[in-house]
């Protein structure tokens, strides 16, 4: 039996945990009921498949954006084996609260569910960061064998970041939303009492939560410390190694991303000096023209020995056009760097926290195994006295096996989520860059007709001079 059994599942149609086939163990295959591509083994391009949503609606795959969002929807369905999700949570609507003691931000936490564990089908409560933190601690305490998703950092260390700035609050909100969604998606964590309280109680009285804890009982009080594991089993050692290497790679990617943002910011600064010079030059040309007029120079408008019609001062318009082009590039670049700072870096950093959590879970598992092995050894020394394995050693063995099973399941789940999350993250990065170049392209293409324009020409005839 599982050491941390959730409340007995009633006849809501949910199967006991052991029977739920996670898309975990044989990670490659997701059991899918819908006519969607097998995401895990997908090597063919998306355009080749005839895609439709689970409810049968055909999907427009003409644009890349729709293909990838479709993919995301299908992936979520995959995770639940095609079963309809019955718990939806959202974190949004940040608001500032000012009291005499302190100022803080609360977020609206909305829940929609058909689970019987909840009294109502819908909830809307307000929570602050502290409350999320409380939830996380409770989850760690009550589900020690499971990987708890990370929270965004509590304290803002870097520089003088405004805790109430729009960007900061939005970044935090997204991370909190992600946290809650991950918990709600987890087959075990989502049934946790404390999550229920967090989502439903009007007033999150944390002491009441404590009472709830002791009532449910079965909270495994782990004995940490005192037991040292001799050898981590191969598969868990492999996990540890992977995590270490992965952390390193993420760190490198973080540094590269920061460096790119820095270079882009400096590029932006130079662009802002460069563009206006064209504008000044246009002014110089205009000034010259005016001066010529002042001293009575006749502009030879129809001088066309080469067949090329130049207006009185043919450079003003092209120069201003280029100035405009450069300005557009600068604006687009600013947006790109903002995107990367706000969307890319925080998610990357959050994964480092996730990895730390995973490492801690591995360590806890080691502890449990160590305890078991120690007790086993101790029992072996007393073997002459008994014939059967003492019950506390048996309990330890159970604990180890459950932990290992939970951990393995969670690991696979985490790997799958990681793959999706990074696919999303990197795809978004690519999209941001594509958008940047598209904006620049549009800006430059729009000035070509201006550059080629003859004074008498109206719009739409700028293509006659082909380079």
């Amino acid at each position: 039996m599982s050491a941390s059994t959730p409340k007995t599942l009633s006849s809501s149609g949910q199967k006991p945990i052991q029977e739920i086939c996670h898309p975990l163990s044989a990670a490659e295959e997701a059991v899918v009921r819908t006519p969607s591509p097998d995401v895990a083994n997908n090597t063919a391009s998306i355009e080749d498949k005839d895609l439709s949503l689970p409810n049968g609606t055909p999907v427009d795959t003409s644009s890349p954006a729709s293909s990838s969002s479709l993919l995301n929807r299908l992936q979520l369905d995959d995770d639940l084996d095609g079963e309809t999700r019955d718990l939806f949570v959202t974190v949004d609507d940040p608001k500032k609260h000012v009291s005499t003691m302190e100022t803080y931000i609360t977020y609206r936490v909305s829940t929609k569910t058909s689970r019987v564990e909840f009294d109502l089908p819908e909830y809307s409560v307000r929570r602050r960061y502290q409350d999320f933190d409380w939830l996380r601690i409770k989850l760690e305490e009550t589900q020690p064998t499971h990987l708890i998703p990370p929270l965004p950092e509590k304290f803002v260390v870097k520089g003088v970041v405004d805790r109430f700035s729009e960007e900061f609050v939005e970044t935090r909100r997204r991370a909190l939303d992600k946290f809650l969604k991950r918990v709600a998606d987890h087959p075990v964590l989502s049934f946790n009492e404390h999550l229920n309280a967090f989502l439903s109680s009007k007033d999150l009285n944390k002491r009441a939560g404590l009472a709830l804890l002791t009532k449910v009982g079965e909270g495994v009080k782990l004995v940490t410390g005192g037991y040292k594991l001799r050898l981590r089993p191969l598969e868990f050692a492999a996990m540890g190694e992977y995590l270490d290497t992965f952390t390193g790679k993420l760190g490198t990617i973080d540094r590269i991303a920061q460096r790119i943002i820095k270079e882009q910011t400096e590029y932006l600064a130079e662009l802002r000096e460069y563009g206006p010079v064209y504008g000044s030059w246009a002014g110089v040309e205009a000034g010259n023209r005016d001066n010529n007029a002042a001293v009575g120079v006749e502009e030879d408008r129809n001088h066309s020995s080469s067949g090329h019609h130049s207006n009185g001062n043919g450079l003003q318009a092209p120069l201003e056009g280029v100035a405009g082009g450069v300005a557009s590039v600068a604006a687009a670049m600013e947006e790109l760097t903002e995107d990367m700072s706000q969307d890319f870096l925080p998610v990357l950093r959050e994964y480092v926290l996730y990895i730390d959590s995973m490492k801690n879970v591995l360590k806890k598992r080691d502890q449990v195994q160590a305890e078991y092995e120690a007790k086993l050894e101790a029992a072996a020394l007393r073997r002459e006295e008994r014939t059967t394995v003492p019950s506390d050693v048996e309990k330890c063995q159970d604990r180890v096996e459950c932990f290992n099973a939970d951990l393995k399941a969670d690991w696979e789940r985490w790997q799958n989520n990681k793959r999706q999350d990074f696919r999303q993250l990197l795809t978004n990065m690519a999209d941001s860059n594509i958008t940047y170049y598209q904006k620049c392209l549009a800006a430059w293409e729009s000035i070509i007709p201006l550059l080629q324009e003859r004074p008498a020409d109206s719009f739409g005839r700028g293509q006659d001079k082909v380079i």
């Binding site: 590029y267 010079v277 999209d431 594509i434 940047y436």
Partner: protein, 433 residues
């Protein structure tokens, strides 16, 4: 052969009179259909390194450029003929240009490509021997020759023709024109500060414009170099993604392939900036040409000022001499003069002395009158021909720079399209992760 004929004509045209200008113009000006370029194809085809001995037994390495000429299709009736070729080094181009500047003072003479690389951004070497620099210089030199050979006035110059067609002895011929002396005195005069009372307003405006053009183009070139520097950094750092994705893919199962191929695209992205910026250098060169052109424009304005000043000085001198004569003749002293002072203090001069002085003055007045007439005509020449050439220059400048700006926009468009392509490819790889 027609070429030999022309060659002979050029050789016998070696002048020994002080008025170099007339002897070296084969036909009169302003007929573009008669420009050299119509009759002859000119290219600066190659560049080569040479080592030679300078004075004092020192080795020097320099670059020579191959000038190829052949009669144009119009002259040759479509037959392809092997080109004539000769080698020239940069200093010879400089000599040619100096000659042209002195010989045609009212023409905006096209500039040469820069002697040393300036406005470099960090990756470009400022080394004169750098192959990219040499190549861009080759293009610049060809451009110079094409511009001169298509100019309605300069293209008829015999020295120019000689430069293009006969390798040996050209330097001597140039020096024989005596332009050097004229050059030295001109330079001295132009560098002096002088106040002109009645300069042509249009020339003053042009001078002002040339100053502004110089200032704004050098500002532009500096800013562009800094932008190029930064852009280089942005692209190159993305190459690091290539490496880390590759390393990361090694520890992944399903994600590995997608990451690996995306990494390749990041590498390609980082590498693409080299070609992009090399192409932009050509744009910078076009702007640079007009930076230097501005200087040539200014020089013409200054020459006008100089000749106007000389005219004013000569006029003043003539006026004062006439006045002196009048005073001498009538005895009435109108203005203060030293002579008048000394006469009052030390007594009148004798009748013979007065006669002698009067005669001398008369001679001087005649001379002065001639000088004024000469200077007036020179000034008028410069004003009319100079103004005409400045107009021609202005139209050419507007045409050329407009085209340069259009090309710049197209370069940017191409860069954007490449960027979209690379990131779309990368995105596809990511989506297969």
């Amino acid at each position: 052969m027609a070429d030999a004929e022309r060659e002979d004509a050029a050789e016998t045209d070696t002048p020994n009179s002080s008025d170099a200008k007339e002897k070296n113009v084969i036909s009169s000006m302003s007929d573009e259909s008669g420009t050299l370029l119509r009759r002859m194809e000119i290219t600066v085809a190659e560049a080569e390194k040479r080592t030679g001995k300078k004075a004092v037994n020192m080795q020097e390495t320099y670059t020579v450029y191959l000038i190829e000429t052949r009669p144009s299709a119009a002259v040759n009736g479509g037959q392809s003929v092997a080109p004539d070729a000769l080698w020239r080094r940069y200093s010879e181009f400089e000599l040619l240009r100096n000659y042209l500047i002195v010989t045609y003072p009212y023409i905006v003479v096209p500039p040469l490509p820069e002697k040393r690389a300036e406005f470099v951004w960090h990756k470009l070497s400022a080394d004169n021997m750098d192959p990219d620099f040499v190549e861009r210089r080759r293009v610049g030199l060809e451009n110079f020759l094409l511009r001169v050979a298509s100019h309605p006035v300069m293209s008829n110059d015999a020295i120019l023709y000689h430069f293009l067609t006969k390798e040996r002895g050209w330097k001597e011929v140039v020096y024989d024109t005596g332009f050097q002396a004229k050059a030295d005195s001109r330079i001295r005069a132009l560098n002096a500060t002088f106040r002109v009372k009645n300069p042509d307003k249009r020339f003053m405006e042009m001078k002002h414009y040339s100053d502004e053009l110089q200032s704004i183009t050098s500002q532009l070139l500096r800013a562009r170099a800094r932008v190029a520097d930064r852009l280089y950094g942005v692209y190159k750092v993305h190459g690091n993604y290539g490496r880390v994705f590759s390393e990361w893919s090694a520890i992944e199962k399903e994600m590995g392939d997608g990451l690996q191929s995306a990494g390749h695209h990041m590498d390609a992205y980082a590498a693409s900036i080299d070609d992009i910026l090399e192409e932009e250098e050509h744009y910078a060169d076009q702007i640079k040409e007009y930076l230097f052109f501005a200087e040539a424009l200014r020089a013409v304005c200054r020459k006008h000022e100089l000749s106007q000043y000389e005219l004013e000085t000569a006029s003043l001198d003539l006026t004062s001499k006439r006045q002196q004569r009048e005073e001498l003749a009538t005895g009435i002293v109108r203005t203060f003069s030293f002579k008048g002072m000394t006469t009052k203090l030390f007594g009148q001069e004798t009748a013979e002395q007065r006669e002698a002085r009067l005669k001398m003055l008369e001679e001087q007045i005649v001379e002065g009158d001639d000088t004024v007439k000469e200077k007036t005509s020179e000034c008028e020449d410069i004003v009319s021909s100079g103004w005409e050439d400045m107009q021609r220059f202005k139209e050419q400048k507007d045409r050329d720079l407009r085209e340069a700006l259009i090309n710049y926009a197209y370069m940017q468009i191409s860069m954007c399209k490449k960027g979209i392509q690379v990131w779309t490819n990368a995105k596809e790889c990511f989506s297969k992760m």
